[in-house]
């Protein structure tokens, strides 16, 4: 089998409100395999200290729009993990 082409996408994951407080972080920089999805970025954040308190299927956004966990990520994407919304 040929060796897989190893490409990386670098994304920024933003945390807000209760999630940011749980991790003590507002931004996490993650390097993921080229085929990575939002779920992979989430897995990384949930593996950090305090990250287990983020639910397995939170609301997510990519580049300022709501996005599902299966959304593919590309270089430079801004992923956001959104706690339950409470505007209005």
């Amino acid at each position: 089998m040929p060796a897989p082409i190893t490409q990386i996408v670098n994304v920024r994951v933003l945390l807000f409100a209760s999630y940011a407080e749980r991790l003590g972080l507002e931004t996490v920089r993650v390097a993921l395999p080229a085929s990575a999805t939002v779920a992979d970025a989430l897995d990384h954040v949930r593996s950090l200290p305090g990250g287990e308190r983020i639910p397995p299927r939170p609301l997510c956004a990519v580049n300022l729009a709501h996005a599902g966990l299966d959304t593919r990520l590309t270089e430079g994407d801004e992923v956001a993990l959104l706690p339950p919304l409470a505007g209005g």
Binding site: A17, S18, L69, P84, A86
Partner: protein
């Protein structure tokens, strides 16, 4: 025009933005800070937001309302610390007739609550502090176009 405001909301100014000689109806909504939540006395609260996405998502909601009905919509949401009775969100929807004005105004507040990334930290009279909704059950997956209702 920014949707997030660090200063008190001015409903009169929002109404002025949707008035015109052809519009015979303006429906408005004001969301105010309440002094109780879940049976607990609230003293004050703080809104925080994913500001760039708030601007995008509010823009999409207003555009959707203006596509669905022949209306003009103005919308603003407060940021930062608010006291009891302060206006947290203000909406004005202007239309030729009241049916479209009411429908669009209702649509916009429901979509704001469902889709716009704003969070509320409540400070209670007993000295405790909580992010509203943070203790709730897990949030579901997000279909394209917005979170599940």
């Amino acid at each position: 025009m920014a949707f997030l405001s660090a200063t008190p909301l001015d409903l009169t100014a929002l109404i002025a933005r949707v008035e015109s000689p052809a519009r015979g109806a303006v429906a408005t909504f004001l969301g105010l800070v309440r002094d109780h939540h879940g049976g607990r006395a609230v003293q004050r609260l703080e809104y925080s937001a994913y500001a760039p996405m708030v601007e995008e998502e509010c823009g999409r909601i207003v555009a959707e309302a203006e596509t669905r009905w022949p209306v003009r919509v103005a919308l603003e949401h407060r940021m930062g610390g608010l006291e009891i009775g302060d206006a947290a969100v203000a909406i004005a929807a202007g239309a030729a007739h009241r049916d479209e004005a009411f429908a669009a105004c209702r649509f916009v507040i429901e979509e704001v609550k469902r889709r716009v990334p704003i969070w509320k930290k409540e400070y209670y009279a007993d000295g405790t502090v909580e992010w509203v909704g943070a203790g709730a059950a897990l949030v579901g997956d997000t279909p394209a176009g917005g979170p599940a209702a």
